[in-house]
Symmetry: C2
DNA sequence: ACAGAATACTTCGGTTCCGTAGCAATCGTC
DNA sequence: GACGATTGCTACGGAACCGAAGTATTCTGT
């Protein structure tokens, strides 16, 4: 029997988060215990969902990292982003971006193009095939994972809200600039309507 | 300038979660959008905290995976666990457990010992040095990461609760058995008092 | 008491990912 | 308009991780 995939998901014999929390409460400060529980919960939840996500991705010949890049390229009005934009926005180390684009290029889902005005910079451009793969993968991801997460709509909203605060306070994204930049990142339709310049060249 | 460590944490230019959520709402079902936001939030939060955690771990010559195993070995009354217990409880694939124990053994933080009654089974036993390293790492982890998570105590509780429900519904741990098993996993003091047998041999 | 199933761990091969260092192009400053 | 600082990407090497197959031991049912 293979370790993951196919077979649903084998449960751990007990809740590691709650177990550690008790140990921490005995030995350390209460704030450390609650913080540990937060991190452990996030880690386990990520592990759980990530397995499901990657099972889907495997079927489409992708990893989540490659999918994420592909999906963002598909979102851009020009179907192109600079590698540094990818690195900064998705918080992927530059060397990893190179690896990811190498792989996507190998499979003809993306191609590299020179930047029109900056010779240091490389653009990643999604191909028609890449766009199709991204759409198919997203569809499966939605129906097999995202729509089946075991929380009600209000709970989902609450959870996203709490994590947004955690991320904001940890400086995960630039709270000041975020809403402005997001206008730039809008979809083709939205941007075409307003006729903005490309965010890449900013 | 190195990519991570030292430097606080370079913020992404905008909130990727909120940006994707808008794209999803335009193109897919609302339940898919909220589910995607849940996964993306968890992913980013994990990424954020994991960087901080691994910066601490690096200073102690560990990765989080190795630390986690070491910490659990330190928790056990007999300072020993079977490799399969580690694999099942922490949800680490068997081959990875072998790698992790290899590495910990190489650094004399742990040693392998034969199981007294089952020749198939190997025990990992924490050494005095391992115990010290685990304690030191935990101390730093608490003060530098866990105690500084940007949420109030009630918010932490709420977040942990929501994620527990998500994990339970995804069958991440065995809800039926969990509380029973957790008694077995208690700390030395608690177990010594009740004089239970070793959970390993179960 | 024995065959077949199940369990425990390791080996092997391969991928992914990332820290560091380096190179090339551009920018900022005087 | 030149020089140092910065930025953008890639090359390299290594670490972590894991799927699948293999070996040894124990358990189960008859």
């Amino acid at each position: 029997m293979p370790y993951s995939s196919e077979v649903a998901f084998e449960a751990a014999p007990f809740d590691v988060v709650e177990a550690s929390r008790r140990v921490w409460l005995e030995r350390w400060e209460p704030e450390a215990a609650s913080g540990m529980a937060v991190f452990a919960s996030i880690l386990r939840s990520h592990q759980l969902l990530n397995e499901q996500v990657n099972d889907v991705m495997r079927r489409h010949g992708l990893t989540f990292a490659r999918y994420e890049v592909l999906a963002w390229l598909g979102t851009d009005p020009d179907s192109a982003r600079t590698l540094s934009w990818i690195s900064k926005s998705l918080r992927i180390p530059p060397a990893t971006v190179t690896d990811i684009i190498d792989r996507l290029e190998l499979e003809k889902l993306v191609r590299r193009a020179p930047h029109p005005s900056d010779a240091r910079t490389t653009l990643a451009v999604i191909t028609a095939r890449g766009r199709k793969v991204a759409t198919d993968a997203t569809h499966d991801l939605n129906t097999e994972v995202y729509e089946r997460i075991g929380l009600s709509e209000p709970q989902r909203g609450q959870l996203v809200e709490l994590l947004a605060q955690l991320r904001a306070s940890g400086n995960e994204f630039d709270v000041e600039r975020s809403s402005d930049v997001m206008e730039e990142v809008g979809t083709r339709g939205a941007r075409a309507r307003r006729g903005k310049r490309r965010p890449d060249v900013a």
